[in-house]
């Protein structure tokens, strides 16, 4: 088939004359002859694949794809109050500029001699995350919050030699499902049993008595979140960590790091391992493609030795005063250890680590404080406005960014309310009715620094009409 006259801009050697020269050098007539030496006839696909007519012209391709994408609506066009694991935040233009940089965008697996800048950017990501959460070790990013929690729980299970983890009952069902997979099926030897901690119906925080009952010498770790899935700030962190430690368990805290300009760093209330989601730190939502997780811990061998991730360490070079970088204890990883390694590692979300480093460098301590305060003020303002609507209630106070809005006092289901909001070009909060029946007919509303007073008034007005 190599006599075809197909020349594609992405394939320089599709030029027939060039291809002929190369084939001559190899000593065969066509590619077919090469394949015939390697792949038996019975495994060959004969005939052409049945695919749509292509658009080799860039202009035509763009027109085609844009036509399909025009069927989407974006959160720029509509007003959105969706969160639940992926959040709309302000993304500085410099973050986008660096994310698009050819060098970072298209690098992959080169070493520090060719890619020193990439290694330094990863080290800076780890360093800035360390400052934020109060830990001395952090690694390269994971896929998302769920996988970082799963990895952290497995680290704790290996460290303690125990097979049970306590997690809050109120947790993102997506995240829980990811964690469940990491905890393995019950019939496998490495299985980790997940036990749930109840919550205080008044505050939404973890029920400490329930924790005391369930924590034992079997507990590998207590995992809790700040803020929780429904936005509640867990104010008993210190006591929870103490109970974990008294039972010889690790304290693992999952965080939304954009809260850490105003919320206490988990290391200060006893966390041994911190994990969470980096998407708020300069990543667009990308329909869920903006997620990336992180893990941080104490700088002790017993923690470092259990990380599945690449850990970039700064080191010296043969030139005085010059920084070099490399992989710390790389033999931990599955690239070396295969099935004997600490879990598995692979291509995850490195570009987002670089963008998060840019974001935190732009924000600085003042920016992080201000964004945290803005989120608290705007979300509490929204909660106040919404709870003024007849039949609408905001059950918990002391939240960050997200809060359940309960509609039990109205005749409407969340789904009907959201349909009605949609007609007014508003994405209402995520429906919690089926996820957490205990919360009644509730929706999880997310208000961030990007929402203006006018946006909140618009929601309030639309909701008033929607619940009628």
């Amino acid at each position: 088939m190599s006599d075809r006259k197909f020349v594609h801009p992405y394939i320089p050697n599709s030029v027939p004359g060039v291809k002929a020269e190369m084939l001559k050098e190899i000593g065969v007539h066509d590619a077919e002859e090469l394949y015939a030496e390697m792949i038996p006839e019975r495994l060959r696909l004969r005939g052409s694949m049945d695919l749509p007519r292509p658009f080799p012209a860039e202009h035509d391709l763009k027109k085609h794809v844009e036509a399909v994408l025009s069927k989407n609506v974006t959160c720029g066009e509509y007003l959105s109050f969706l969160g639940a694991g992926c959040w709309q935040h302000f993304v500085p233009a410099v973050c986008d500029e660096v994310a698009r940089r050819s060098e970072f965008l298209t690098a992959y697996a080169g070493g520090a001699y060719s890619d020193l800048g990439r290694f330094q950017a990863f080290f800076e990501f780890q360093s800035l995350m360390g400052e934020l959460v109060g830990m001395d070790v952090s690694g390269q990013p994971t896929y998302d919050w769920g996988s970082s929690a799963g990895n952290a729980i497995r680290m704790a299970a290996r460290m303690t030699g125990r097979g049970e983890v306590l997690v809050p009952r109120i947790i993102s069902p997506d995240r829980l499902s990811i964690i469940e997979n990491f905890c393995q099926p019950s019939s496998t030897p490495g299985h980790i049993d997940i036990r749930f901690l109840g919550f205080d119906p008044e505050t939404g925080t973890i029920d400490i008595e329930d924790l005391k009952d369930k924590a034992s010498s079997k507990t590998a770790a207590v995992y809790f979140e700040n803020p929780s899935y429904i936005g509640v700030v867990e104010n008993n962190g210190e006591e929870i960590s103490e109970i974990a430690h008294e039972n010889g368990a690790e304290s693992i805290v999952g965080v939304d790091p954009i809260s850490l300009g105003v919320l206490r760093p988990p290391a200060e209330y006893g966390a041994d391992i911190v994990c969470g989601e980096v998407q708020p730190l300069g990543m667009h939502m990308h329909c869920g493609g903006g997620l990336g997780g992180f893990i941080a811990s104490r700088d002790e061998e017993r923690y470092v030795g259990e990380y599945p991730l690449r850990l970039i360490s700064v080191t010296d070079t043969s030139r005085e005063g010059e920084y070099g970088f490399g992989q710390c204890r790389f033999d931990r990883t599955s690239y070396i250890g295969r099935d004997q390694a600490k879990d598995y590692v692979g291509t995850a979300t490195a570009l987002w680590a670089i963008v998060a480093a840019v974001y935190l460098s732009l924000m600085g301590p003042k920016g992080m404080k201000e964004v945290g305060e803005a989120i608290v003020q705007k979300s509490h303002y929204a909660a106040k406005r919404l709870s003024e609507i007849d039949g609408v209630e905001v059950p918990f106070s002391g939240f960050f960014k997200e809060f359940p809005v309960n509609f039990n006092g109205t005749e409407k289901t969340v789904s009907a309310i959201n349909k009605s909001l949609l007609k007014r070009r508003i994405f209402g909060g995520k429906d919690l009715t089926l996820e957490f029946p205990v919360l009644g007919r509730s929706a999880l509303y997310c208000v961030t620094e990007v929402h203006s007073k006018e946006d909140i008034e618009r929601l309030s007005k639309a909701l008033k009409e929607a619940v009628k």
Binding site: A107, I178, V450
Partner: protein, 518 residues
Amino acid sequence: MKGSEALRSYHAPVWDEPIVLELGREGERGVIQPEVEEEIRRDVGDARSHIPAEMRRKSPPKLPELSQAQVLRHYLRLSQQTLGMEFDIDMGVGTCTMKYSPKVNEELAGRISEVHPLQDEDTIQGILEIVYKFGSVFLRQISGMDEFSFQPGGGSAAAYNNACMIGKYHEVNGELEGRNEIITTIFSHPCDAACPATAGFKLVTLYPEEDKGLPSVEALKAAVSEHTAGLFVTNPEDTGIFNPEIDEWTKIVHEAGGLCSYDQANANAILGITRARDAGFDMCFFNLHKTFSSPHGSSGPGCGAVGVTKELAPFLPVPVVVYAGGKYHLDYNRPHTIGKVRGFVGNVQVVLRSYAWAMSMGAEGLREVAEVSVINNNYLEKKLLAIPGVTKPYKSRRVDQIRYSLEKLRDETGVGIDDVNRRVVDFGVQSYFTSHHPWIVPEPFTPEPCETYSKADIDYWAEVLRHVCQEAYKDPERVKGAPHNSTVSKIDSAPLDDPERWAMTWRAYKRKRGDVRR
């Protein structure tokens, strides 16, 4: 220093750039936050009053304080000190398919940046259509599989996903306790061993026969038993050798009651040539950031696109994008689903780029990608085997890449692959991918000259290696002392494994080494 006539004079950028935490002055601002209106401030009061007292941050995080231009400059300098694929002839990084990522696709991917994954289905019909068609049209034709998931965020994540599905399959059949072994080969990617292990399986690893470079059918027969849960293999393996008995392999595993998962990380040169389904696999995955041109992103975000047969479709992670009643839907109704391996639908911006790339190719173009890749690889082989010190273990013809050895060079000159790898960067090419561990092939390197590279590119790349190998015979110390034209001098790796000296953060570095060094 100028190399031989054909080689260009190159020097990497050297900015001697401080760590970002060493830069800036107190009070500088990189960006101002959106306004909090006065009415809101008045109405809700101090933000701190809404945070429980014991949960308030007392001292601010020690982040740098920098103005905007200074932040941008710092990260642009770091980017310049990174040799991205677009700057060099990046075919040394085999198994990774360092192909060109078309710029137009970056523009298109930007169109979904402000879409939230939980929006009403009616408002995301465009992206759902693209995800659906990329699977059910393109990947179905390429693999022969029936249904697809794009949830795993990379190749290893997809291998892990498949291991979870195999576990669930045997669990549903009440056999998981007994079926606890996964078989793989040593030349399959390490994820094919590590991911099943993370999902709870024991691994049985098959080693190649001396002459063929592949494990024998007899070895596989001896490995299967009533404990066999499944098979995880790449094909062609990381050596570039295609296992011609692969259908016999899947048959043996099926007869033992196991399932077969195909790691298609090395699929670039077999698009439209041979299919997973026809070789008897139950599931497979493609790395969209490799074969399907989405940029590697310094190591993600990527996508491990999973394809399965109809029989295994009930086990897929949820939601699956389906088409029914004239609309695209997120289908959560999968009776045996493993649940989730990642949040939401996955890295759909990666799927979008892959769709655009595949739509620019069509059936004929994809076939051309495969054919040119196999021609490039065999052409490069001719060039490389003419270089003193380079050998090719195992005799057979290769598909997309070849694992070569510099054992001869090392024995004759004392210069090994690590030295060569530091030296080639002096000529503006990316350091090579050696091999995953263990190094069955001594002093290995594995170039993959995919369709992106021109004949002139391949000739230059081979010329760099020829120059360095010749230098190893003439002036070995020059190679061992490399790099000479790089961003950084020789790096001391000893502190990396020493708890007293390793430092994964600036705060740890300062604690261990005393305050700032300059």
